[in-house]
């Protein structure tokens, strides 16, 4: 699920960058886009590797079980387990997006695109 959430965030940031990126170059929205996009690609590779793993799962929380060379439906207990694993994964996805936003915010503060700190420094001088 963290892959799905990161992908959604990447698409959203892409459209934001496409619409606002040229007008507001100073804000370097491409940094956020590159970060989320790269993470999505890496998790996609991880997902494809998971398809060939012992569980044969792309996201890791799909409601089926691969056993003795065949897929079978999950039992009620296993479904509950998958549900909690999915919720845990959603929390991870949200945390990753939040972390990417925090990193981007720190970078923007350092870049200071509106020259707020520099102006204040000059005024103080």
């Amino acid at each position: 699920m963290h892959l799905v959430l990161t992908l959604i965030a990447t698409v959203a940031v892409f459209f934001l960058w496409y619409i606002l990126g040229r007008k507001h170059k100073k804000f370097h929205l491409e940094i956020l886009l590159i970060m989320l996009g790269a993470a999505s690609i890496m998790w996609m590779v991880d997902g494809f590797a998971g398809l060939f793993g012992p569980e044969r799962k792309f996201l890791g929380v799909e409601p089926y079980v691969f056993e003795a060379g065949a897929f079978r439906e999950a039992t009620a207990d296993e479904m509950v387990e998958f549900f909690y694993a999915g919720m845990n994964d959603i929390a991870l996805g949200l945390m990753v997006i939040a972390a990417a936003l925090v990193i981007y915010a720190v970078i923007v503060i350092i870049i200071d695109p509106l020259n707020l700190y520099r102006k204040k420094k000059e005024e103080n001088k």
């Binding site: 940094i31 590779v45 590797a49 990753v96 972390a99």
Partner: protein
Amino acid sequence: MACFTVTLMEAVAVSAAQITVYALEKKGVIKYENKEDGDNSSDIKWSKKIGVLNGMLIGGSVLLALEHVFHGEVTVFQPFLTAMSDAEATAEMLQEMGTVGVAMAISLTAIWGVGLLIYHLARRKAKAKEAKKVLE
């Protein structure tokens, strides 16, 4: 387990390449058609192009490292990677680094390369169009 370390290692190498290219650009060894900043017709500097790959590698690695922290695979104490605590887990980790980690690094670099190729082809096409207009 530690697949993000492969891309992180590549990022270190790419950073070194970026610094070298930047220094060569400053010295004038690598030249561009239009050097003015903000000029849309000017060629994007190679240091910037490599910077995009570097950003992809570092950004992706940081977010993946966070996922590993979330799953308790990375700790702040030695040996930092929980898979390093016993030989069996270490072997599994190295195998994952060699397969998934390398695949991640290759796919990121390949996607960057494809993007670069599209950019250069589009630029060449635009140049040819401009030349045609001048001749007419």
